[in-house]
Amino acid sequence: MMGKTIFIDPGRCIGCQACVSACRECDSHRGKSMIHLDYTDPGQSVASLPTVCMHCEDPVAPCAEVCPADAILITADGVVQQADTTRCIGCSNCVNACPFGVPKIDLQAKLQMKCNLCYDRTAYGLAPMCATVCPTGALFYGTLEELQAERPGVQVADSFAFGDVVVKTGVAMVVPADKVQWPVPGGLPVVEVNGVDVR
């Protein structure tokens, strides 16, 4: 897990979409939001959760791995950048490879866009726009220690199971304190996948 990163706490999400609006204001892709807001159980609950780019670490950024133009670069601190506009050919390979459904393609411009953890802001010591404005702290930016200082006893996971593949990410998810901590598909504990203990 990166030093400072985003922690997503679905329990606190009020579905207000301040993150979506804020992302639209971000200078690196102004006018387009790179955040998904999903409703987990419409009709039964008002529960919702935001998804930013999870900045996959292991396997390293599937989007970058499949990019035929080497347009998606990963910085030394683990941030998976959006496609380099001089290299991107708009082929959509990254869209298909991402297990979280994050990258978007502007078909007219033949360009990929995605969350780059607000590199234009974090480089200056500012928090990403989405986590800055999030009224509830459902998106928290900081270190794990900072999060735990604010929320005693909080537990997080940075591994997600997709079938028998486990992806470890740079962005982490707050998980229920009484559950097994990882891997976490959609926030629920999985200790065994297809008969294999993935711990």
Binding site: R12, A18, S21, R24, V46, P135, T136
Partner: protein, 763 residues
């Protein structure tokens, strides 16, 4: 003197935030484009979040940047983030519009022609029917300087008693209750006290959607282990994770809170020392709540009796408990009494005047609190003085330089003025910064009232549904084009700063009011070149009152995160928390506890109308939507209203459902959800007819606060064959509706979430 609050109190996750401060937001290109950041506040709700407006080298507002202000600590909701887009929006009115009759089309005219026509109509109506035949309706989104001017203009220039404001639709029930119980009209505690509480009770407030930024305080308390109790007929986003969610039937709050106090008395959980030292009326209240057993409340409220006991024990057991409420308990024909039952609960448990213990009302409009403090409300003079009090009248006449005989007496409330227009008692009206065609209940009556008026002028920066019905429309500034103060829900006065010059043809409300006064012959009393000059008179006019602003100056506001009134001298730190010395603002210093008996809502249920209709906000829109329904991102987020129905009625989401009340019927797409009671339906209220919740709501009023009973009326639901389409916001002649807002607006489907939010990405 009150001790200032601990500045280190901060919501979770915000301590390490770095404010962009003097660094332009777009740091990569800042040097090239000459960007500057102007510190100001959001124009919308009563939280008044601090923000920077991004201004380009041409002096135009083009963006927003979070600001580490004490209130919001960088947090913003989607309305705040998108607000800047209205400053240079293509729908802005840039020339006065005029027509001599409603049969004509608007034409753009000069300022002189619009002002001359308005003044001639005022004079014609007043000379024929008397001064009180012309009225003024102000707004609680105006800066306090402007609300002061509205009240002074009505009494001195118009010489009419008929002035009121749209805060009448907002928090006047809470204001009335606070005045009765404490002798002061404001919340008792600042938001930051929430971080210190052990039990937070939220009644009738969908905090997550209406005041999203306040939820950071709520979570800060919960991180410390505080329990959360939510009283709401709907399972809102904060109710979903609350320790106790009481989904009571709309219009039964007083019975519920009486029963909670019944249990607290029965189980000896009251704070008798506090009651003896600080309260009067307790014996009578105790006798009344004895009649409200949990079983009786369960029957009235449609909830398990055990929940009453659970709430009573949780609230009373907390070392420090707080209760915050909003329109959910205030918008009722016993709105004042509902608030009084909450105050009784806080007082009986000794939860008043301490850090982490107290009460508050969550103001809907940006200046809902400050908007009435300086004379815009029909019965109030500046400084919260009563217009019926001889001493208060004398004081203000001295400041204004008029004879007491020249000062009119109290007028009527906003809804009553509409009824008077229907009866031709009021024949002319100026509306400033309000949109009653969407915001008042019982639309048919409102439309009839305005159509009956012989003359109607409106101030606005977009053509609202109400302005579209006027004879004259004055194009005025947005909040980013002028400076002034607002008082937020904590009674913290904050200063908004000017970020850009108004577009050509647009004038400030101050200029228009003063110019009208001059043409009416009262120019010497309205020689105000700017907001600052008005504020200096306001400070003096409030000195020595409970609502004392004398110690607040523009300079102090710019140096601090805002100052809570009362603030009697320029070296006084302000009063963020009330009653710390154990005294209220009544002459005897006690809390006047009030007996409340529950009564049923005014619209009776019968076989034809067996269900409750309740209304409220959605997070993407503000009030009548005149501003937010023009901003693409917010329209995309919530393009249309819907009706929330429980699955037990057999509808599928998206089905056309007709909602019928005794005022009318409209068809909305169903949003089927288990997050609402089976006997209740919900419609968000930001849209005009034929998709207006307020075409269906009842214009019954609370007898004391005169607030309409928006939150409950009898209805039935039935299947329909088509869904009413959302009309486009009105625009000036020659202007097309803004295309960005049109695509999703015509979407007939309900939103995908029970709380009315569309998916983030429809592409």
């Amino acid at each position: 003197m009150t001790i200032p609050l601990d500045p280190s109190l901060a919501p979770p996750g915000t301590r390490n935030f770095r404010d962009a401060g003097g660094i332009p937001a777009d740091k990569w290109h800042a040097d090239q484009n000459g960007e500057t950041l102007v510190p100001t506040h959001c124009c919308f709700c009563g939280v008044q979040c601090g923000m920077y407006l991004r201004v380009d080298k041409g002096g135009k507002v083009f963006g927003v940047e979070p600001r580490n202000h004490d209130i919001n600590r960088m947090r913003l909701c989607p309305k705040g983030i998108n607000a800047y887009q209205q400053v240079n929006h293509p729908d802005r009115l840039t020339a006065p519009l005029m027509r001599r009759s409603r049969d004509e089309e608007f034409r753009e005219v000069s300022w002189d022609e619009a002002l001359d026509f308005t003044v001639s109509e005022i004079k014609r109506i007043q000379s024929a029917y008397g001064n009180d035949a012309f009225g003024l309706l102000g707004g609680a989104s105006l800066f306090s300087e402007k609300t002061y001017l509205v009240g002074k203009f009505a009494r001195i220039a118009l010489k009419s008693k008929h002035v009121d404001y749209n805060g009448r639709l907002c928090m006047v029930s809470a204001a009335g209750a606070n005045k009765l119980a404490f002798g002061i009209d404001r919340a008792g505690n600042p938001f930051s006290d929430i971080l210190l509480t052990d039990c937070l009770l939220i009644a009738g407030s969908n905090v997550g959607e209406c005041f999203p930024v306040m939820t950071q305080y709520l979570w800060g308390a919960r991180d410390r282990g505080a329990s959360l109790i939510v009283i709401d007929p709907r399972e809102t986003a904060i109710a979903r994770t609350a320790d106790i969610h009481v989904a009571l039937k709309p219009g039964t709050d007083a019975a519920f809170f009486n029963a909670v106090l019944h249990v607290i008395v029965k189980e000896n959980l009251t704070d008798e020392d506090f009651l003896a030292a600080h309260c009067t009326g307790w014996d009578e209240v105790k006798a009344k709540v004895a009649e409200y057993t949990p079983e009786r409340a369960a029957e009235i409220c449609g909830i398990p009796a055990s929940q009453v006991v659970q709430v009573a024990r949780t609230f009373a057991a907390a070392d420090k408990a707080m209760a915050w409420h909003a329109r959910g308990i205030e918008h009722h024909s016993q709105g004042v009494e509902n608030c009084l039952t909450v105050i009784n609960l806080c007082a009986a448990t000794g939860n008043i005047g301490k850090p982490g213990a107290g009460y508050g009302t969550i103001t809907g409009q940006g200046n809902g609190q400050g908007g009435r403090e300086h004379g815009q409300k029909s019965d109030l003079l500046p400084g919260g003085r009563s217009i019926l009090n001889e001493e208060h009248r004398r004081q203000i006449c001295e400041i204004w330089g008029i004879e007491e005989s020249e000062l009119p007496t109290a007028g009527t409330s906003m809804m009553e003025m509409i009824w008077q227009m229907q009866r031709r008692e009021i024949r002319g009206l100026i509306g400033i910064c309000n949109n009653p065609f969407v915001s008042l209940p019982n639309y048919a009556v409102v439309k009839d009232g305005y159509d009956t008026a012989e003359f109607h002028a409106q101030f606005d920066f977009f053509l609202s549904e109400t302005a579209a019905n006027a004879h004259v429309v004055f194009p005025v500034t947005t909040w980013a084009e002028d400076e002034g103060v607002m008082a937020n829900a904590e009674a913290r006065v904050v200063k908004h700063n000017k970020a850009q010059e108004p577009p050509a043809g647009v004038r400030t409300d101050t200029w228009v009011i003063c110019e009208l006064a001059r043409r009416l012959g009262a120019g010497d009393k309205f020689a105000f070149p700017d907001s600052r000059s008005v504020f200096e008179e306001l400070r003096v006019a409030s000195a020595g009152t409970v609502n004392d602003y004398y110690g607040i100056t523009y300079e102090r506001l710019e140096e601090t995160g805002g100052i809570a009134w009362p603030c009697p001298s320029t070296d006084h730190p302000g009063t963020p928390r009330l009653f710390e010395d154990g005294r209220t603002y009544h002459p005897d210093g006690t809390i006047h506890m009030q007996v409340v008996d529950w009564h049923a809502p005014m619209d009776p249920y019968d076989d034809d109308h067996p269900m409750s209709l309740t209304t409220g906000r959605t997070v993407a829109h503000f009030l009548s939507g005149n501003q937010t329904r023009r901003l693409g991102g917010l329209v995309e987020q919530t393009p249309r209203p819907w009706v929330e129905v429980h699955p037990s009625h057999g509808f599928k989401s998206g089905d056309p459902v007709r909602v019928v009340t005794r005022r009318g019927s409209e068809v909305f797409p169903a949003l089927v959800t288990e997050a609402i009671r089976p006997d209740t339906v919900f419609i968000p209220y930001h849209w005009p007819v034929p998709t207006a919740a307020n075409a269906l709501t009842i214009d019954a009023l609370d007898p004391r606060s005169k607030i309409p009973e928006y939150k409950v009326c009898a209805c039935r639901i039935e299947a329909a064959d088509r869904i009413d389409e959302v009309p486009a916001p009105p625009t000036a002649p020659g202007h097309q509706a803004y295309p960005e807002t049109q695509v999703s607006r015509t979407d007939p489907l309900p939103p995908t979430s029970p709380q009315g939010r569309g998916t983030a990405d429809r592409s």
